[in-house]
């Protein structure tokens, strides 16, 4: 994070002993109610702290079997089960091997490197968890960056996320909870009562923190109940609720409750629209360091206070930058990875034929053919293996997709001719590099009455160069048309499986409306409307202010577009190219 948030991941003012105690308590609660709490994703690098936590979790698990370890690279067949080929062939009847998810029912799952798990894997595990199978789920999240976290589909389904980053050996004390206490709490759990006020306060607290999912308050209530059972009481009280909120809701927070009045209203709003990731660099400097003081009025105030102390330190930065995984998901979803027949990370083979660049997966094909051999040989006695076209399996790979670099150039008179020339130079420099990086490039220019695609997406540097020479300058600035067309091109690139990145070169001063008529005010309105529409798409973009002095209008526009704003007064082509490269890297 660029704002210099504490890389150790520790909340300032939250002592290490407390973090470790909370982690220990989470382990104990998972021992008490693994089904009700879903599990935990432990944020820590491999090391003594993590090992110690797992040991403690194992102690608290009591007689239950240890969770089934699932490698992050597991394939679907192993995960979901399928025909056991060897057993089927030797016994002569189909033997279905249960998948890991099925095997893990009642004992839970341990997923190392959870931050590397794909959404598809996470969703499958999540579905099994919803059906009550592999609980608890223990994810080991070794992410290095704040936004390098386990998939949301998993985080959503666990109650705890102990953060052990930065804990040293001397912090790792034995929690003062005994295994007998856990067993006692398990027995008490069913009769432990959660009063309505507590339910209400927890739900309201979750809403105040901007947590839309209803699983979170459900977990918090289950946690409160388990804590009460652990304390030997048969009714949840303030203290237990506070602890539950601290453990469960704090790390799931999406916003800071501003004031009691706002806290009432906020649940009616979705969390702020997904910001662009690349906006992360421009965090306003005038952030209040402390959250506003709140009068003590609402019953959930106490809970909010309890949770506030445990909020992740980088939450503020994350919320402002919109760089949590949740926000990212939109862009990493379908666009950035795609199935390929040629290269990438291997996927399960599927039936198909050669051709279209498909490669035959020989082993899979033979495996498919194997069970049929006795049957086929009955009708066609030969010595060899009989392989029919239905057996063919082709290889498939998943790979990162190409990016589409879309330049949107303000070729109007206001962007002085000299600047335009430098912009062209910068584009050519970037094109050379884009070519090396196997990107496709497109150029949208706007001037006069409208916008046009001066260069459709291409990988050909030669073609791009030729077209760029021909970009005429002068005339009005139909900014809105330019934005709308750029958005269209980007959406098209995304549809064909590329990840668009847009570079806008403009001073942000529109004077031609969307319909081509002149008029500064209407034009600015159209432009800001188009910018907001652009933001909805969540494309990554950078806006380079080409004016001689940084323009407030350009900066405002960048904000509305969710693009990074870079003023480049008197910058040469090379500097411009460097900015874009830094932004896309």
């Amino acid at each position: 994070m660029p704002d210099g948030s504490d890389p150790s991941g520790l909340t300032p003012g939250r002592p290490k002993e407390e973090l470790w105690q909370d982690a220990g308590l989470a382990a104990a609660l998972l021992g008490v109610d693994p089904e009700g709490l879903g599990g935990a994703v432990v944020r820590a690098r491999p090391g003594p702290a993590r090992d110690r936590w797992l040991e403690i979790a194992a102690q608290f698990r009591g007689d239950r079997l240890s969770p089934r370890r699932v490698p992050a690279s597991i394939d679907d067949e192993r995960l979901l089960g399928g025909l056991d080929l060897a057993a089927t062939l030797s016994s002569g009847k189909p033997i279905v091997a249960p998948g890991v998810l099925e095997e893990a029912a009642g004992r839970g799952i341990l997923l190392p490197m959870a931050e590397r798990a794909t959404t598809a894997l996470a969703v499958k595990i999540g579905a099994a968890m919803d059906a009550g199978g592999p609980l608890p789920f223990i994810g080991l999240d070794e992410g290095a960056e704040p936004d390098d976290v386990a998939p949301e589909a998993l985080l959503e389904r666990v109650a705890f996320r102990p953060d052990l980053t930065g804990l040293g050996l001397r912090d790792l004390t034995q929690p003062d909870i005994s295994v007998e206490e856990i067993a006692g709490a398990q027995r008490r759990l069913a009769t432990t009562h959660v009063p309505n006020e507590v339910v209400k306060a927890i739900v309201a607290t979750a809403a105040a923190f901007g947590i839309t999912s209803l699983r979170a308050p459900q977990f918090a209530i289950a946690a409160a109940r388990a804590i009460a059972a652990l304390n030997g009481s048969d009714e949840v009280e303030e203290l237990e609720a506070q602890a539950a909120v601290r453990l469960v809701l704090a790390w799931k927070a999406r916003q800071l409750p501003a004031s009691p009045e706002a806290a009432e209203e906020q649940p009616s709003e979705e969390p702020a629209p997904p910001d662009n990731n690349d906006a992360s660099e421009e965090i306003p400097q005038d952030l209040p360091d402390d959250t506003p003081e709140m009068p003590e009025a609402l019953p959930e105030e106490m809970l909010i206070e309890a949770a506030r102390a445990a909020l992740p330190p980088d939450l503020f930065a994350q919320l402002l930058a919109g760089s949590s995984r949740r926000m990212q998901a939109g862009s990493t979803g379908a666009g950035e990875e795609s199935i390929s027949l040629a290269r990438g990370r291997p996927l399960a083979p599927r039936p198909g034929h050669r051709g279209n660049g498909a490669r035959l997966d020989l082993v899979a094909t033979l495996r498919t053919a194997a069970p049929w051999q006795p049957l086929r040989k009955r009708t066609n006695p030969t010595d060899g293996v009989i392989v029919t076209p239905e057996d063919f399996r082709i290889k498939r790979f998943r790979r990162k997709t190409e990016s589409a670099l879309i330049f949107v150039v303000d070729a109007s008179g206001s962007a002085a001719a000299a600047r335009l020339a430098e912009a062209k130079g910068a584009i050519e420099l970037m094109l050379a590099d884009a070519y090396q990086r196997r990107e496709q490039v497109s150029l949208v220019s706007f001037r006069g009455a409208g916008a046009e695609v001066a260069l459709p997406l291409t990988r050909s540097l030669v073609q791009a160069k030729r077209r760029l020479q021909g970009v005429p300058g002068g005339g009005g600035t139909p900014l809105a048309s330019g934005l709308a067309l750029a958005q269209e091109v980007a959406a098209g690139a995304k549809r064909s499986g590329m990840t668009p990145f847009l570079v806008f070169l403009t001073d942000g001063r529109a004077n031609i409306c969307l319909d081509g008529a002149p008029g500064r005010r209407q034009a600015a309105e159209d432009a800001s409307k188009a910018a907001r529409a652009f933001r909805q798409e969540g494309f990554a973009a950078v806006l380079i202010d080409t004016a001689n002095r940084p323009q407030a209008s350009a900066e405002a526009l960048a904000g509305e577009m969710g693009a990074r704003y870079v003023p480049l007064p008197r910058a040469g082509s090379e500097e411009m190219a460097r900015v874009v490269q830094a932004a896309t890297a």
């Binding site: 009700g36 598809a120 969703v123 699983r215 666009g335 959406a491 529409a533």
Partner: protein, 333 residues
């Protein structure tokens, strides 16, 4: 594990209405439910299973063949017993292979007896019922294509492994997903009849009620189901009544024109939108016990029938629901 009762779901009225309408008139097409996590998308669909009226089918038939229809296996249906069975609500797991979906050679019989026999897949199982795909946007494209094709034609044709078989597979495709994990191709969007947007309830009281009911259900399932049995029976009766009423519902000509104007106004291509609005409005009228489709019915179903058919307008920030409502207002005024 008994599913959470349908009528105990707090809020989510649009989702519930959409599912009920397709239960009354399956020809409306599928339902697509997009929304955030933890908003109860799958709960609603799974709850549907416990709610639907039973269907009649031949005993032991893996294809849910309706009485009087020929059996896909080619066997005679003379003298076969007819039994009542629950309307199927089949879950399609994300990792399902093509074999499991369309059916394949029956391995057991092939290996042990050396016979070529067809083992029906999930499509056969879902005939006359619902096929549910959670996280439909993560399903492999070729499977989605295949499903939509079968759903549209109502017939599953298998030509593989030396087998050639066709059997009816008419089901309501219900897909749910989280838009953050990738969107559906516009071509696919259009194939779903209704689309609903799901958000968790905004109102704190409602949220508390959700949590409370969920908790009651988790803690004492039998008691909770018993408490809600009455409400469930009511909805079930209304669906059955709606199914019978459907054929009697009239659509006034004037309303047909309105529907056409509405579809024109929002720029939905093709007749699919018009047909869906009309069918959904008729099903709603039947569900409400009306003899004639009214403007009110139209207003209620138009957003869910049309919001996924809107032409994308980059300059219109308003949500699709608002745009449909706006179009309705201008057409109906």
């Amino acid at each position: 594990m008994a599913a959470f009762p349908f009528s105990a779901i707090v809020g989510q009225e649009e989702m519930k209405t959409a599912l009920i309408l397709t239960a009354i008139d399956p020809s409306i097409g599928g339902v697509l439910a997009f929304g955030d996590r933890g908003t109860g998308k799958s709960t609603a669909v799974r709850a549907l299973a416990g709610l639907l009226p039973e269907i009649e089918a031949y005993e032991g038939c893996a294809y849910n063949t309706a009485p009087g229809m020929p059996l896909p296996t080619g066997e005679s249906n003379e003298g076969r017993a007819v039994v009542s069975r629950p309307t199927p609500v089949v879950d399609l797991p994300l990792g399902a292979t093509e074999d499991r979906v369309v059916g394949a050679l029956d391995l057991e019989r092939a290996l042990t007896r050396g016979e070529k026999a067809f083992e029906p897949g999930l499509l056969a199982k879902a005939h006359r019922g619902f096929l549910y795909i959670d996280e439909v946007n993560l399903l492999e494209d070729y499977l989605v294509d295949l499903l939509l094709d079968v759903a549209a034609s109502g017939e599953n044709v298998v030509e593989r492994e030396g087998l050639s078989i066709r059997h009816p597979a008419r089901f309501v495709l219900v897909g749910s997903g989280n838009p953050e994990e990738g969107e559906l191709r516009p071509q696919l969007l259009d194939r779903f009849g209704l689309s609903v947007e799901i958000a968790s309830p905004k109102d704190i009281e409602q949220r508390i009620e959700v949590i409370r009911r969920r908790d009651a259900y988790e803690r004492d399932r039998a008691q909770f189901l018993a408490d809600w049995a009455g409400a469930e029976a009511e909805v079930r009766a209304a669906i059955t009544a709606g199914q019978q009423q459907l054929a009697k519902v009239q659509v006034p000509d004037a309303l047909l024109i309105t529907v056409a104007e509405l579809c024109l106004a929002i720029g939905s291509d093709g007749l699919r939108g018009e047909l869906t609005v009309m069918r959904a409005a008729r099903a709603l009228a039947a569900y409400r016990g009306a003899d004639e489709v009214s403007e009110a019915h139209l207003r209620e179903v138009a957003p869910m029938a049309l919001r996924h058919r809107l032409r994308r307008d980059p300059l219109d920030e308003a949500g699709s629901t608002t745009r449909v409502t706006r179009a309705i207002e201008s057409v109906l005024s």
